[in-house]
Amino acid sequence: MLKTPLSRRNFMQRSTAFAAAMAAGAKFTTTAAHAAREKELNILCWEGYNSAQVLDPFRQSKGATVKAESLTNDPTMVNRLRAGETKIWDLINVNNPWARKIMAPEGLIKPLDRTAFEPYFDKMMPAFKAPYKWAMDEKGEQLIGMAQRFGPYCFVVNTDKVSRKTAEDQGWNLWNDPANEKKYGVLESDDWNVFNLCCIAGFDPFKVHTDDEVAKFTETAKRVFKGAKVVGDIATMNQSLVSGEIDFHMTGGTYSASPARADGAANIRGITPNSGPMEGGKGGIVWIEITSPVNNPELSPLATEFLHYVQDPKVAHTVAFAEGTFNPVAQMGNKACFELFSKEELDAIQWDSLEEEVARSVEYDIVPDYDKLLDIMTAAKKEASAG
């Protein structure tokens, strides 16, 4: 009898272990399997790393088959590994806390060689100096991934309708002003909307919440969704801002505003509030992507090679401007990389205010009672749709 219940995930793990044991008895099988994976790399990522601009030069230089699947939220990507896909993927690219607080403790990712990869951090922007907290495991001993793209992410305004100063000063209270009803949109980024609703309700998202706070969250969620003109994707938000359908939207920031800005709409601007309810009175949240090797029993040797490849200044610049959303990269701390960015590109990613916006932000984290708050928010959204 099995000591632990058989789940899809451990079934895959056991199947893999069984397959590995079988393979150990037949050397030629092992050799064939490794040979097969030497020319194959599978990446699960946010958009950008799956673009031809990034992947094609790597494919050509290695003569390898590189497949990359892009998803638009962290929980789904992590779910894929939890559901047994550790055997499929070689690299996973998610936002910072998921690597350190979820995937590493659950054994879904593997550590990297510190001596080989830490020197890259010294060429990054000063905040990323090794040992960089979010690239390390919770004990601070193992390097569990590489940092690259990052950006503040709160809300976006059309500065022709709401000035940058007003937006920064009012911060999350923009959503508490009844005069703004039907003037704003909500990005369909439900995990981030949980953070934002906490901020609008006036408390820190990244802690366990009291019953009073949960009640305030419920009331806020109902009100915010009832007052929203539109809930949609990034393209819809930018189009609605530019056309005048809405004046501002949450969630958003450099990542979501940059395509419109790159297209010449300089009046579309990601805003980080001057103050807010988070630790140290901060009002913004900044995300940092971490790319980690998956705990694949037959990890492709190309996984680490790809991580070296994307540190190249030219490739890092390509990653920053790949696949429709444009973002700062930690490698901009390296002069050779920074000089590749044109003035227009720097404007698109709001380089002028990046440093001060990051200083006003806390780092993206896991909400301890996320499940409860998400369920409340989903119910509130439905209730708003019922009129």
């Binding site: 929980p75 559901a83 056309s243 005048g244």
Partner: protein, 288 residues
Amino acid sequence: MAALHENGKILSQGACNALPVMIFMALGFAAPLLAVIAYSFMPPRSFGLTHTPTLANYADIFTSNSYISFGWSMLFAALTVCILAVICYPIAYGLACLFGRWSPILTLLFTIPLFVSENVRLYGWILFFIKNGVLLGTLKSWFGIEPESILFTPGVVLLGMVYVYLPFMLFPMTLGVSMVPNETREAARDLGASRFQVFREVDLPLSMPGIMIGLLLTFVLAVGAIAEAKVLGGQTIIPITHDIEIAFTYAQNWPLGAALAVLLMLVVGTLVMLVLKRFDLDAILGRR
């Protein structure tokens, strides 16, 4: 115990020949459905299939406000079907009986949009309806009037659904109308029937196979629609498919998503069975 066939074998020759297809169907069609059903009985937010079965997900659905999403999906599917039935019947009649050599060209025009991604077509409608877009921008520049935008309203969602599912109602209906022998209409007219009587007593009953297939096909597709509400409606209405998507993604609650999917299948399946019970599909398809 398996029953022996008359020639002493466990399976007949026909069953043996059908076995590969049966296995393929079992693995490709039945197995995923069974997996979804099994997941719906697992504890909330679990990822395995070996936990103790529970009805917690179903209890959660019946105590939450999921009825709103079910209601929106059913209502919009029903409205879409009704509107399309009214719009498509005259077009189908024209394609089958009136337009002559123009019919293939018109049919092609109705088919061409199917070769373009649904999302692309819906975003096209956004450009048409959005403030300062094709419609409102033209009205503003030509006539100086600025009506309120109708984008992100339930009405536009319905328009999008009618637009997207039109071919799925039109083509079966056209086949149905073309099945009516013209001689029958002529005979009815010769016997003194009015145009309405010919429609009611000849065209409608004899074209019912196509109408029924169009209604069912459109309803089943429309009840599972999500893109129209997301893109054109800006989520002013939340269909049940959106709930299922959220459960499987942001909520990481596969069992809840599976339970919602099972309930949707049950509701739609029951409705389809009720309709099919009333209409004998074999008879209307002329198989007996």
